[in-house]
Amino acid sequence: MKFSRIGPASVFFAFMAIVPLAGSVFWTMIATEVLIMGLFAMSFNLIYGYMGQISFGHAAFFGIGAYATAMIGRTFGNDYGWFFLALAMSVPVAAIFAAIIGFFVIRRTGIYFAILTMAFGELMFFLVFSSYSVTGGDNGIQGLLPPPLLRAPSHYHYLVLCVVALCFVLLWRITQSPFGYTLRAIRDNAKRVRFIGVNVEFCMWVNFVVAGAFAGLAGGLWAPFTRSVAPTLLNWQESGIPVFMALIGGAYTFAGPLFGSLIYTLLHAWVTGVTQYWSLVIGLVMVFIVFLAPTGVVGSVLRQWRTPGISAPAEPKTPTVASPERG
């Protein structure tokens, strides 16, 4: 029973592990990107798929994590010790920001949550953007080379694979824990959760911080991967990407966002190589997804052959997510 839930993901990670063996630097890098963005999308899905709120400022934590790693890396160089410390620091730094921002946003639900997270995201973007002396402003920070052994794309890929696989297991544990089920309950009916003796705001806050921390780690992996960071990593358009990945893969399945990342990244890489009208194509695909596969690709596939009751969170039947609790 359990394998049927983790099965597709095991296949996914096994596949990711053999990609570099094919010897193509390009596909190795695409695979690395899939993993990092997949982690970003899964962290977003803690808030959306499990807690039922949509964050339109999640890229802020991705960006903050990337900047944390970049700034430590820039200051102390790329020894192995400093590199891993810089990478690890993306987690607490992003978590601290998530804790502060979360304190304010978890009091709101539905559209207000979405807009408040977006406003905070933009605020962080403008702060990073205008703090020229600290963050380098618009040009960002360059020269974020990983230490020599991790520089080869395949080596970095395996580092990312290990980190993301570990996060995958952690996230799986979290979503299967009493906490994870409490989140689902909050998503379905926050008011009721109060009356089974749960401090709903605190739970939501903890989840927001956890999600921010994972997003920060994804950003931390991203910075040395692209060798540079720029403020655009934080802005609202970037926040749309995990939303899209989660929806394309299926927000109500655990591994959905990961597959969403795979689909989105491949689609993006393919389209940008073929036409300069890539945003038209991506936009049309989005419309297509929204209308024809509202539970995402993975969700739609699962619905075909999975008996009800087994799927971790099931597909939505009623549009309850958007409505604020009191009303």
Binding site: A114, L116, A119, L123, L127, P294
Partner: protein, 293 residues
């Protein structure tokens, strides 16, 4: 910075002019959200589309101010038609869907329309210039076009207010902002109302584009910069409240104008600080109502 009365006065005027520009852009966004509960990410992209259409019509029939006004009218009509069709064909299927899907749909409009504009008009910036000469008042120069914008903003605000207050349709729209069920219960054809409001919102975006064109070129990417500020205004004012949008525009415009004097590169951060503060204090905005779901 030498703060004298002259400077405060001119800064107030430019702030109000900026505010009215924001209001023209945001009024439609606020109305659409208020009535249909749909957050239109693509609102500024529709402004861009309107601007390009106005430009094309004007280069056909121009030059001259009168012809420009005609072109603006044509732009409004075209956008209204697009809005009506879009609501009936696409948006109307989304009302029962979850919030993220709605957001994603309008977000995909940003991408699609942006690229369609590029396909039709190319990447060149388009601008219309009337060679306006500065006006000298009490020894300071002011841009006379600012008064045109301020006047237009006030007129639209007043017009919308009267429409909502005194016409039958307006009252129905206001009722729809308050409670959708009530309007359907009254047996009013809510679908027609929705499509009309969407059309009106897009026509307002085209009107904003008309006000915009003589001061700044239409260019790809402008929508991305504008929509964020427009969200700020709507959030501060409260969804669905024209008065709120108006007041919020004034706040944002004037605060921005004075921030520029004190902390030029952080002016937008200041605006978002206000947004965050308002959302924490009154998430439904200054003039929105608490009870709406």
């Amino acid at each position: 910075m030498p703060f004298d009365a002259d400077l405060l006065m001119t800064q107030l005027v430019v702030g109000v002019a900026r505010a009215m520009m924001l209001f023209l852009l945001s009024a439609g966004l606020s109305l659409i959200f208020g009535v249909m509960n749909v957050l239109n990410f693509a609102h500024a992209t529709f402004l861009l589309l309107g601007g390009y259409i106005i430009y094309s019509v004007y280069s056909l029939i121009g030059p001259g101010i009168l012809m420009f006004l005609l072109a603006v009218a044509a732009g409004c009509v075209v956008l209204a038609a697009i809005g009506f069709a879009l609501e009936r064909l696409v948006i109307s299927r989304m009302y029962e869907r979850e919030l993220p899907e709605q957001l994603l749909l309008t977000f995909s409009f940003v991408l699609i329309i942006g690229d369609l504009i590029r396909l039709v008009w190319g990447v060149e910036d388009r601008s219309v210039s009337f060679n306006i000469e500065p006006l000298e008042i009490f020894g300071t120069f002011v841009n006379p076009y600012q008064f045109v914008v301020i006047g237009l903003g006030l007129a639209v605000a007043l017009g919308l207010w009267m429409f909502l207050k005194f016409t039958r349709y307006g009252r129905i729209v206001r009722a729809a902002v308050h409670s959708r069920e009530m309007v359907s219960a009254l047996g009013i054809r809510i679908r027609l109302i929705y499509a009309s409001v969407f059309a009106l919102g897009l026509a307002l975006a085209a009107l904003a584009a008309g006000a915009f064109l003589p001061t700044a070129p239409m260019a790809l990417g402008v929508d991305i910069d504008l929509i964020v500020q427009s969200f700020a205004v709507v959030v501060i004012g409260g969804f669905g409240s024209i008065l709120g949008t108006f007041v919020a525009s004034l706040i944002v415009g004037i605060v921005y104008a004075f921030s520029v004097l004190v902390w030029p590169n952080g002016a937008l951060a200041v605006v978002f600080l206000i947004v965050v503060a308002i959302l924490i204090w009154r998430p439904w905005g200054l003039f929105g109502s608490e009870l709406r779901t």
